[in-house]
Symmetry: C2
Subunit: 317 residues, 2 copies
């Protein structure tokens, strides 16, 4: 079902990418998405080279299918180190986060036979990455969880589709068959989903995080620079709310730094019930249950196919 150029490009059955999620999706989730026919993607943000190598080995011990590694270009040294490891270990797909890893890195990955897919927040970024030779772009809207720009998915996707010749996937706000089919109506040839994959049996989220996702309304996210320095859409927590309140009243750098440290310090509580800081998108309000990845993907595709069958009769009515 829904076989597109993205499936052929990446060697996957369904055109569904799992957005890389630091603290949300590790080897279990990545392998489960691959086994269910999508493309699981490992995060590297904030991790060491040792951790990346262990994660890659972990995924390979669980699945023989293709998977991806996400490179978040937050510094040239880390970007080049991640790229070198992906090349050395023969990773089939690299996705790049919301900054340009640089034409030299893209060229090196491509020369090694790696497919490169760039997550982009604007038309201009899409054009630039196409110019650098990437294989596809993910047009990711401001409603997404994690690093976000300001343009929403619905107007962004068709504008990117019109601007580039390579395949476009849609990300941001997609959590069920309706969002999946809407992406195809907008001209996308696939989707990337993050937040919805966090509410699965295979995700890395602890019990607190899973329960929070089920309770959240669409208004319970907040965009903040407290997490990484760049704009990240997160679950609203008291620590992030305090940071943003300080930003709004023009607090000085010292106070902001202390408040950001409080956010980061509370980020990786170890207990099952501990509150954690986590990225999350506005689609969180749509999530009603924690399911297995395979059931999520198969259910979404079956529902989307049924919905697609109904649209022509709506059109004729």
């Amino acid at each position: 079902m829904f076989h597109t150029a993205v499936c052929d490009l990446l060697g996957i059955r369904y055109p569904i990418l799992q957005g890389a999620m630091q603290g949300g999706g590790g080897v279990e989730l990545v392998a489960a998405v691959c086994e269910a026919g999508g493309l699981g993607v490992l995060p590297t943000f904030g991790g060491t080279d040792q951790k990346l190598r262990a994660d890659i080995e972990g995924v390979r011990s669980r699945t023989t299918r293709p998977f991806g590694v996400n490179i978040m270009p937050m510094g040239r040294g880390i970007t080049e180190r991640c790229a070198a490891t992906c090349i050395e270990l023969g990773i089939p797909v690299v996705t790049t986060g919301r900054a340009d890893p640089g034409e030299a890195v893209v060229r090196r990955l491509k020369d090694a036979g790696i497919k490169v897919v760039s997550v982009i927040p604007t038309v201009e970024h899409a054009r630039r990455m196409e110019g650098e030779g990437v294989d596809a772009v993910v047009a990711s809207g401001t409603e997404a969880g994690g690093h976000v720009g300001t343009i929403a998915t619905l107007p962004l996707v068709p504008q990117v589709v019109d601007a580039v010749k390579i395949p476009v996937l849609a990300a941001g706000g997609i959590g069920d068959a309706r969002g999946f089919l809407a992406a195809f109506a907008l001209g996308a040839q696939g989707i990337q989903m993050g937040t919805r994959f966090m509410a699965t049996l295979e995700s890395d989220l602890n019990d607190w995080g899973r329960n929070r996702l089920l309770e959240m309304r669409e208004t319970d996210t907040i965009v903040t620079r407290a997490m990484t320095g760049a704009t990240v859409r997160c679950m609203r927590t008291p620590e992030i709310a305090a940071y943003e309140e300080a930003v709004a009243r023009g607090a000085d750098t010292g106070e902001l730094k202390e408040l950001a440290n409080r956010v980061r310090g509370s980020r990786y509580g170890e207990g099952k019930g501990d509150r954690r800081q986590s990225a999350a998108g506005q689609v969180a309000g749509l999530i009603r249950e924690v399911v297995a990845v395979r059931d999520l993907i198969e259910g979404m595709l079956a529902d989307a196919a049924k919905l697609a069958e109904r649209l022509p009769s709506v059109a004729k009515r």
Copy 2:
């Protein structure tokens, strides 16, 4: 084509509402949308009762079809005065802007046989307006032009559809057949479009504004309180950029007031080539030509029908 419960409810041929636009759409646009099978909607924001009566007469001299009047509840006196005029003059449809006009006003309109459609930015607002007895809601995303909330259209629409029993229309980011069909995939039974209707032969925009819409990229809008005190998405102009820059550096109230006055003072230049302040949505980057309203609506519906026919085969592939 695309006949839904919204068409029966409002007595229109196609489930397309034109978003009320102060300075963007007057009697010519409203009448043209109605004549083309949609629902034109008159703005009232900032206008006098005399102006509203003249506008209503103007629309009625151009079309016998149903049309709407938008009430933007910025103050109780004005809201009640607008409602009384709509009742007195037998307006068939009233849309309400991004605030609750109050249950008493809704009740009065409904008792007079007027259909009430509320534009809402969150699930909670949708539930409240349904509780007050409105006939339908327009789930309007943050990418829309004019008064906006923070939730994007793609995640907002299905969450509203799940939360209420009355019909839901989608607004924000829709400018062509792709966005139209995406709205239906998300569960909407119709759409509201504003920005795209500004780039028509019948709109109130001057030459500068029309040319600006054709040039704009998706990144050329900005959300500001400088226009009305509430958050409004506008074309980015030097005056608004200066105001927002001052907000960001924590400027005092006096300075902000002066800068806001500069925005408002430059709002209604009379010459054809004069720069004006205007609301606009992120879909502006998708607009490539100024067309007649009838051609816009018929082209969009025909393209959407063709696109709907293709989706089942994509699903089976």
